[in-house]
Symmetry: C2
Subunit: 482 residues, 2 copies
């Protein structure tokens, strides 16, 4: 199969880094199916960490998980005009199954608003049934022309929240609340600073009234849409006749939201935190937080050192995801390198000298700093503190990068000078789609969002549109994006 080779051709700098780390750290591999990747155990373990952190927050905000069919009747997609326009070109279609042509073609879900709305119509009758707060963990298929490991694959894993409410206000509160959850996930767990804001019409989800997003700035200067939360209004409710009887006995369409993040987040981690040695993982989502490497020369030492490593593991395993690399066929040097590539936040080297002095040697993955002679007493406290420090340091480094690469530009000349070197460009925009489109055609950059808050201080209330030079009140963030 030539899938791998084809997909590795023509990668730009950022994509090369992504592919290099994803493959070397054994996070993923190319598959024989065009655009589909295999998530290898170490990559999947990161996804499990992300899932468990996020699933907890989704449940704490009152949502319940459920599961809806993979297949969606083609006619369902067509019920909402903008939705079908947006998704039909990317659909994979089943027309033959069980040895027969199907009466109606089935689309492999590119997102589940339509099938879920069909079920909501069955389940929702009265205001007493509202709100309905559902989440689904599932695989999704969108036939992409140009794919990249994690960032854009034909099949990906995600969660999609779908909620129905009695009022517009309640649905809007929900939309923003879940965007807030994504911001927390990104900043506090993945250690990735984001800009949150509203998408312009051209970047809006097909079928939504408003799309909110979080955007992260990747190492190569491109922006990545890391999560979206949509206020759907009554668009799908009208298409599927999802109605409820309100407290006055009147029939009304529900107001809805949907929101999702995907395995793309693993791509975001790679493209934010990697260095020349490989991956660097934030402790909160690292499958292995501490790797213990035993150091010994003779067989006589070996037994004693391994025993001590296991003891250490036992002492710390309630507080950390810790593992001893006790493989005999690899040297300590090989192991150092191996676990650096894989981004394990903390390494403990343990040899006979350390043991006799009751200390350990610790190596931080984030700064590469070597911490010698750390007393074994109070090691737990020391490591808890160190984990927090590493988590915060990774965030701080990424945030410094974001600030350093955010520029204010006042006119098209400045815009043109800056845009090719990457980063975020803050500028005024007159809110006309044609101005946005014009810049996109010239530079391939798009408005990533109308930010809630600018990443750097900007007190101007008014300026001139970056494209047409007319007076403008809206400041937006432009960037090239994945």
């Amino acid at each position: 199969m030539s899938g791998a080779e084809t997909q590795e051709k023509d990668l730009d700098q950022g994509e090369s880094l992504l592919a290099k780390i994803a493959l070397e750290a054994e996070l993923a591999d190319y598959s024989p199916v065009k655009g589909c990747m295999v998530i290898r155990p170490y990559g999947y373990a990161i996804w499990e960490q992300i899932q468990s952190s996020l699933d907890k927050m989704i449940k704490e905000t009152g949502h319940q998980n459920a599961y809806f069919p993979l297949f969606i009747p083609e006619s369902f997609l067509q019920k909402e005009a903008k939705h079908v326009e947006g998704f039909a070109p990317e659909c994979a279609v089943v027309s033959y199954a069980g040895g027969k042509e199907l009466e109606e073609k089935l689309v492999v879900r590119p997102t589940s608003e339509t099938i879920i709305n069909y079920m909501f119509s069955k389940w929702i009758q009265s205001y007493r049934d509202l709100p309905v707060l559902i989440n689904q963990w599932a695989n999704i298929v969108r036939w992409e022309m140009r794919t990249r490991l994690f960032l854009r694959t034909t099949e990906f894993l995600w969660q999609e929240g779908h909620t129905a409410h009695a009022t517009r206000e309640e649905a809007e509160v929900e939309t923003k609340k879940m965007l807030g959850v994504y911001k927390t996930l990104s900043e506090e767990y993945l250690a990735i600073p984001i800009i949150d804001g509203i998408k312009t019409e051209t970047q809006r989800f097909a079928g939504a009234v408003t799309t909110y997003c979080i955007e992260g700035l990747m190492k190569d200067g491109k922006s990545l849409q890391m999560g979206t939360s949509h206020y759907l209004g009554q668009n799908f409710a009208r298409a599927f006749d999802t109605k409820f009887q309100d407290q006055n006995g009147q029939l009304q369409h529900v107001h809805q939201t949907s929101w999702g993040v995907s395995t793309r987040l693993i791509g975001a981690i790679i493209m934010t935190h990697s260095d020349e040695k490989g991956l660097r993982l934030p402790p909160k989502i690292a499958p292995i937080q501490i790797i213990v490497v035993p150091i010994y020369k003779e067989q006589a030492e070996k037994e004693m050192v391994l025993k001590k490593c296991k003891e250490l593991e036992e002492t710390l395993k309630n507080d950390f995801r810790i593992k001893t690399d006790d493989r005999d066929q690899y040297s300590p040097g090989w192991k150092f390198n191996h676990w650096e590539i894989k981004g394990v936040p903390i390494r403990i080297n343990l040899g006979p000298k350390d043991i006799s002095s009751n200390v350990v040697e610790i190596v931080r993955r984030d700064t590469k700093e070597k911490l010698k002679n750390v007393p074994q007493q109070d090691l737990r406290q020391y490591l808890l503190k160190l984990s927090t420090e590493i988590q915060e340091n990774l965030f701080r480094q990424a945030n410094d990068f974001l600030i350093k690469n955010t520029f204010t530009v006042k006119n098209e000349k400045e815009f043109a000078e800056k845009i090719n070197s990457g980063g975020y460009l803050i500028c005024f925009w007159c809110e006309k789609t044609q101005c946005e489109e014009k810049l996109k055609q010239k530079t391939k950059a798009t408005i990533r969002c109308i930010p809630f808050k600018l990443p750097v201080d900007q007190n101007q209330e008014e300026g001139y549109c970056i494209s047409c030079n007319q007076k403008a009140k809206q400041q937006v963030i432009f960037a090239k994006a994945y």
Copy 2:
């Protein structure tokens, strides 16, 4: 859509019970896509409990989770002759995607041996790379003609383990080890007694050398295959050329296993533990183990009672999945009924009288027994003990049912008399496929397995084949099955 109606027609007694409980307890719903169901939040929460119990055991036995593509190139399926023969008729096929006819058709995975073997061939070079121990949680599609909620749906959720080993012995140990894990899951978590054994050739997985299974006896007397574990030999390794260099430098094909259980297990729970009031859930996998129902008449009482309920919840929430049903719009009687249908193992009724006497009233779902005046002191200990008792009682009841409905039959007449009233029939079989097939055609019953151990004592070493009456040494279990 007429999906629901079509699917409810012509249900036999067991299927009616299944559908009634699945719908009334809000575990699942029919979907507009033929044969696909929607798993509703309460049903999905049971699945999450099963997943977390099983996932832990899968990881403790050294396996790692990973994720492989949903789509499998049609040519892959064809590489193993028996595999394609078994699965091709059930496949859903994508031939059109992203606005174009595909060069090669893609099958929606009916199981993942083929695509995983392709990847194994890339990853495995040396004996040092073995064993490879992988598990995948995924959705699966098999186009079934006749579907039933949970027990047989076109799409279902499952886990599929796939392992590669250097030797036949090691692979066989693995196959049996994972069957043992399924037995533990079924008996100790789901409280369902099983018969474990080997499938005959006609019932073997398409592509396997040996298929082991666990079978449970459902309330309507039919058997349910609850899980299978296959020794695949080198069949797929040969088809995909999955080879390793052994310690002597010789190239050899790997020996493989695969094993899986699915959302069908939720059907098994329904069809084992339900009674005339609804579902009964074993505490270990109940999403809600204790439901607290506040009892009050006047508004003045309400506040005090709810406060006490919340206090109780706080005290117990570290040990139990506990919830207070504080909804105002429903009466206590309505709530009793509601949570009985949903099978919550323990109900606590709490009213002003109980509070003033420092007691609670407890109702067991399994026996419907009302336990009055249980002191609030030591309630935690009392409930832990009660949970264990309920878990054990559900298993005991199911096991009694299995024993009571297992019969030894000596000739075809006895077989014919017994088979239509359900249950397991133990008999001798001469090991000829034609004898098995003949009985299947006459009675629709199949050999569920050659059991490791008979469920009732049978010391005979030899007898006569139930079909051809020739001397026979093999005792087998016949039953009608889902």
